[in-house]
Symmetry: C2
Subunit: 198 residues, 2 copies
Amino acid sequence: MSISATQVKELRDATGAGMMDCKRALVEKDGNFDEAVKYLREKGMAKAAKRAGKTAAEGAVASYIHMGGKIGVLVEVNCETDFVARTETFQDFCKQVAMHIAAAAPEYVTIEEVPEARVSEEKEVLFSQLADSNKPENIKEKIVEGRLAKFYSEICLLEQEWIHDAEVGKVSDAVTAAIAKVGENIIINRFARFQIGG
Amino acid sequence: MSISATQVKELRDATGAGMMDCKRALVEKDGNFDEAVKYLREKGMAKAAKRAGKTAAEGAVASYIHMGGKIGVLVEVNCETDFVARTETFQDFCKQVAMHIAAAAPEYVTIEEVPEARVSEEKEVLFSQLADSNKPENIKEKIVEGRLAKFYSEICLLEQEWIHDAEVGKVSDAVTAAIAKVGENIIINRFARFQIGG
């Protein structure tokens, strides 16, 4: 099995073990990264590796604290270069997103992140609400589809109305506008929102 | 089945439905809160309820942004009264905890939060490291126990060395000191730590 220099470097970065040890571990474990980490640790050649995701993205983390600490938000927004990440335009946008999250209390960033179980529970409820209706099935389905879109617009950040300017539209539209401004792709990656007593 | 006024109020707060509707839903569902929420929603009498935990605690959310946004921390610290939550002493302590988390990068608050699978994997690695040793089993177990404590002190916030003052000891000791200062119980409830490219 041939092991690439990139694989060796990744393992080295993750474990702090020597180059040759990393190569040997990868050969031994047929290129399996996690197995190789474990191998190195068992041999005492690696420290407890942080389970860090390997994202190459640049960007910034912004926070917003509301009402003297009753609500707090942390948000990570990614862009392509550190240069853009440090601009006032980008930093202001990150701050605006954090404020939006504090006010609008989304639960997920994207529709894709909503757990399947939650969606099917919601669908069940929506269909039950139409149980007494005489409308044909295909109309009921259209109605449920519409209400599901509304459900998403309540819990998914990108689907919510941008609180800073109703004319912008959704948060995803605000992202698009920010992309046009800075000339780089922008992704709202993750957020945390803590509320005291909530 | 008798339904208490407290139950009715909780359901009302969670759903925004009317008092009598809430009582009827609870009677119908034998006092089961989640079932009652679903019942109200199916009847169209409740909005999509936020899945909010019901914590009565007071406290504050603090944040700390490091290196112009490359690392960000959000932390919720609870105390008993809003009065204490607003004091400078308490707010300063929250800020210090946030800074500590930015620097020391814990993964959990307490030892109890570390997933069982992670602990057993760690134990396996630690025993493997002693495989070639001639020490008796009970000594090996003592060694593994000691190293496991070190592992916890790396990944659990409360077990870490308090970065602001080595003489204080662990973060849990800093919490104890803060409790003595403000005269109320203090609990570090949860945190988020985002790092760009990490």
